[in-house]
C-alpha cells in the first residue's frame, strides 16, 4: 500500500496549517502605522499601577505624536542584559531601552546606542530640567552622552525611630564610626535584636559598601584616566576590611547575616530585629508600609565620613550613594529617532515625572518634579537630599568586571566570616585576582 506515505504527508500538512494558523497570529511587532518599541522593567511591587501607567503613557504619546507605543518587559537585570546583547548582535529589537544607570557604561562600550547631540538635548528639553547628579551616568562626558535619566533611586538608610528614641539617640549618624557607636548602643543580642542588618551574601549590595568606603577615604576603584585598575590598592583593601569588621569586630549585625540576601536583611528590619538598615532605596517602601514598623521608620542619607576617620581625608568624596536610577537610551539600529526623542521629551516633563514616580514609588529625575515630590512626601525628602550626594560609578566598559570582582571577593570570604573572622591575606589575594581581570578588560577597551 502506498497510502502510508500519503497519510503521513497529509497529517504533517494539516499540522503545519494548523500551526501557522494558531501560532503566527499573535506576538511579534505589529506593522501598520508608525510605532515605537520601548523596553521597560517589570515592577512586581506595583503591577496594576504599572499597567495603568503604561496605558496612560501610550494614550498621551499617541495624542502628542500620533504614533503607537509598544512595551516589552524584562524581569531581572540578567534578562535585561541578555535582551541588549541579542538585540545588538542581530540589529533587531526595541528602539528605546530603559537601562539601569550602573549598566549604562557597558551599554555605551558596545556602541549600540546613539550618542545624543546638543540639538537632541534641546528637543528633550535641555539638560537643565534634570537633577544634575542624575546626569552623572549618562555618558563619560557631556559630549558623549547616551542616557537620559528618567528616574532616580538614591540609596540611603532607614532606621527605626522608636528604637532610636528608646536608646536616647537624637539623630541618625553622619559618620560611619558614629554609625557603629549607635549600632552598639542599639544592640540587644539576647533579644535577637541588632544595631543593623547586613546582607553579605547578596549579589548586589556588598560592592556598594566597598565603593562608598573607598571613595570617601580618597581611594579609587579605577584610576581617573580609566586606564589603571585599582582594586588591589590599600584603600580598597581597607574598605573591604571595614565592611567585614562591622560583623567580625564590632558585632553590630546578626551573625546569620553572613548568609543573608537583601530580602532577609529587609525582613529583619521590618520584623523589628534590626534598628538600622543601610543601602535601601525607595523600593523598600511597600515592604515597610505593609509591616509592623509602619509609622516607626524614617529615611536618612548614609554617613559621609569613612570608617576609622573623624572627618573625610583630603581627596575623599562625599559619596552618599551611587548614581542609581534608570536612563533611557536609543538603540543605534533604531529608525525612529525622532519618535524616540519625542517620547523622551514627554516622559521627562514635570507632569509625567510626577505621575511616574508616584505610581511606581521612585524619585523623579526632573529637578522641579523632585522638589515637588520632596514637599508632598516629606518622608522621602532625606532620599532626595541623598541624591545630592550621589557620585557616579566609574564610567568604563569594564564596569561589569569591577562589580563582579568585588562581589566575588565578598562571596569567597563568606565561609571565613561564618566562623567569625576573615583573613586579610586571602582578601588581598582575591582583590589581586579581580584587579587582573579588570585590568585586562580595560586594556581591551583601549584597542
Amino acid at each position: 500500500m502506498h497510502r502510508g506515505r500519503g497519510l503521513f504527508v497529509g497529517v504533517i500538512a494539516v499540522l503545519a496549517l494548523l500551526l501557522t494558523g494558531i501560532t503566527a497570529c499573535g506576538g511579534g511587532p505589529r506593522g501598520g502605522g508608525t510605532q515605537l518599541r520601548v523596553l521597560v522593567a517589570v515592577d512586581p511591587q506595583y503591577p496594576e499601577q504599572q499597567r495603568a501607567w503604561l496605558d496612560r503613557v501610550t494614550q498621551r504619546f499617541k495624542a502628542k505624536s500620533g504614533a503607537d507605543l509598544t512595551f516589552e518587559t524584562f524581569a531581572s537585570a540578567g534578562e535585561e542584559q541578555t535582551k541588549i546583547q541579542t538585540s545588538i548582535v542581530s540589529g533587531d529589537g526595541p528602539d528605546v531601552y530603559h537601562l539601569g544607570s550602573t549598566f549604562t557604561p557597558v551599554a555605551f562600550a558596545t556602541k549600540g546606542f546613539q550618542v545624543l547631540s546638543e540639538a537632541d538635548w534641546q528637543q528633550i528639553g535641555g539638560r537643565d530640567r534634570f537633577v544634575p547628579e542624575s546626569l552623572g551616568m549618562s555618558g563619560p562626558d557631556p559630549a558623549h552622552q547616551i542616557g537620559v535619566p528618567v528616574s532616580t533611586r538614591p540609596y540611603g538608610m532607614v532606621y527605626n525611630t522608636a528604637m532610636f528614641r528608646a536608646a536616647g539617640i537624637g539623630a541618625p549618624p553622619a559618620a560611619w564610626d558614629e554609625f557603629v557607636a549607635d549600632a552598639k548602643r542599639l544592640n540587644q543580642p539576647a533579644a535577637g535584636v541588632y544595631g543593623t542588618a547586613l546582607d553579605y551574601a547578596d549579589g548586589y549590595d556588598p560592592w556598594k559598601f566597598i565603593w562608598m568606603f573607598t571613595l570617601q577615604g580618597g581611594g579609587r576603584l579605577v584610576s581617573d584616566d580609566l586606564k589603571q585598575a585599582r582594586l588591589d590598592s590599600p584603600e580598597v583593601g581597607a574598605s573591604v576590611g571595614a565592611y567585614f569588621d562591622l560583623l567580625t569586630r564590632h558585632h553590630v549585625a546578626d551573625p546569620k547575616s553572613v548568609g543573608w540576601r537583601s530580602a532577609q536583611a529587609l525582613a529583619a528590619f521590618v520584623n523589628g530585629k534590626a534598628a538600622m538598615l543601610p543601602m535601601v532605596t525607595p523600593n523598600a517602601v511597600p515592604a515597610l508600609e505593609g509591616s509592623a514598623v509602619k509609622g516607626q521608620y524614617a529615611f536618612a542619607p548614609m554617613p559621609l565620613v569613612p570608617p576609622g576617620a573623624a572627618s573625610r581625608p583630603a581627596g575623599g568624596l562625599a559619596a552618599g550613594t551611587i548614581v542609581s536610577g534608570d536612563n533611557i537610551a536609543i538603540a543605534s539600529y533604531s529608525r525612529q529617532k525622532d519618535l524616540a526623542l519625542s517620547y523622551l521629551e514627554l516622559i521627562t516633563s514635570i507632569d509625567e515625572q510626577l505621575d511616574y514616580s508616584q505610581t511606581l514609588g521612585v524619585l523623579p529625575a526632573n529637578a522641579e518634579a523632585a522638589r515637588r515630590q520632596a514637599e508632598a512626601h516629606p518622608q522621602l525628602a532625606p532620599l532626595v537630599a541623598a541624591e545630592r550626594t550621589a557620585v557616579p560609578t566609574t564610567f568604563t566598559g569594564a564596569w561589569s568586571d569591577v562589580q563582579l570582582g568585588l562581589a566575588n571577593v565578598v562571596t569567597q570570604s563568606l565561609p571565613a566570616l561564618t566562623n567569625g573572622s576573615y583573613d586579610p591575606d586571602a582578601v588581598r589575594g582575591l582583590l589581586a585576582q579581580a584587579n587582573q581581570k579588570v585590568q585586562s578588560s580595560l586594556n581591551r577597551q583601549g584597542r
Binding site: 500500500m1 502506498h2 502510508g4 506515505r5 497519510l7 503521513f8 504533517i12 500551526l19 501557522t20 494558531i22 501560532t23 503566527a24 499573535g26 506576538g27 511579534g28 511587532p29 517589570v42 512586581p44 511591587q45 503591577p47 516589552e72 518587559t73 524584562f74 524581569a75 531581572s76 537585570a77 534578562e79 541578555t82 535582551k83 546583547q85 541579542t86 548582535v89 542581530s90 540589529g91 533587531d92 533611586r153 540609596y155 532607614v158 547578596d202 548586589y204 549590595d205 540576601r261 537583601s262 530580602a263 532577609q264 529587609l266 525582613a267 529583619a268 521590618v270 520584623n271 543601602m279 535601601v280 525607595p282 523600593n283 523598600a284 511597600p286 515592604a287 505593609g290 509591616s291 542609581s324
Partner: protein, 302 residues
Amino acid sequence: MSRRGVSGRGVSRRGVSRRDAQAVLPARLNGVLIALILAFAMVPILFMVLMSVTPDSDIAGGTVWPSHLALDNYVRMWDTVALGSGLANSVLVAAVSAVVATVFAVGAAYCLTRFTFVGRRPYLAVLVFLQSVPQVLLLLPLFMVFSSAATYLGLPLVGTRLALIVAYLTFALPLATWVMVTYFRKVPESLEEAGLLDGLSRFGTLWRIVVPLSWPGMVVALVFSFLVGWNDVVIASVLSHPDTRTAAVDLQVFGHSIEGGAIPQYGQLMGASVLCSIPVVALYLGFQRYLVSGLTAGSDKG
C-alpha cells in the same frame, strides 16, 4: 507441572489465587517503600504549599509557620503577571512541540532501528552529542538565526509562538529519538514480518504494529519533550514578546530580587509554581493508563 488455576494466572506457593505478576516486590516492602518515597518527594512540596500562603516578610525572615494566612497570594498572582495567558502559552507551545517532536522521533527511530544505511551510526552518535550541548551556548547564535530569518526571508519569527515551538521541538528531538530507539529495539521483528507477509508496507507495519506496542515509550517521549518546552526560561525570555510569554518566564518576575530593598514575592512564586505543575501531573495522570504491557495486549495469534 502446570500450576495454572482456573483464572489462567499462576498460583503462587503461598496459595494466593490471583497473583499480580507485575508486582515484583513483596507487598509489605512495596508499601513501606511507597510511603518512604512519597514522603521524600512530597514533604518539600508541602512546604511549598505552606509558603504560598505565608506573607513574604515571614518567608524572608525565616519563620516556618505563617503569622497569618496570606491567601490573597493566589488572587494577586494573576495580576502581578499575566499568568493566565502565560500558562495558556506554555501549554500550547509545549504540547504542540511535544507532539510534533514525538511524531518526528517515531519516524526517525523506526528508520534507525529497522534499516541500515549510510550515516546511521554517526547520526545516532550525533544525537547523543547534541544532548550534551548546553543551552546557554546556543542562546546568542539561535537568536541570530531566528532574527535573520526575518531580515532575509521576510518571516518575522522572533516573538511568535512558532519560533518557540520550533526551538523546543528541535531541542526535544534528540532526546525523543533516542527514547524511541531504545523502546523500538525491544519490539521483536517477527511481529513486523508477520505484518509484511500480510501485505502491509513498511510504513503500515510502523503504524499498526510497532507504534501500538511501544506506547509506553511514546508516553515517555511525550512527557520529556513537553517538559523541555514547559521548563525553559532562557530561550523563551529572548524569543518571546509580552503576549507570547510563557509561564516559566513569568515566574521570574515573582522571584527576582530587586536592588535596593524589596522582598521578592515568594508566596506568589510558590503558588504559581504549584499551579504550573498541575497541568503536567494531570496530563501524566491521564496518559499513564496507557503504560500497559503492550506485548501481551494485542499480540497476534500466530
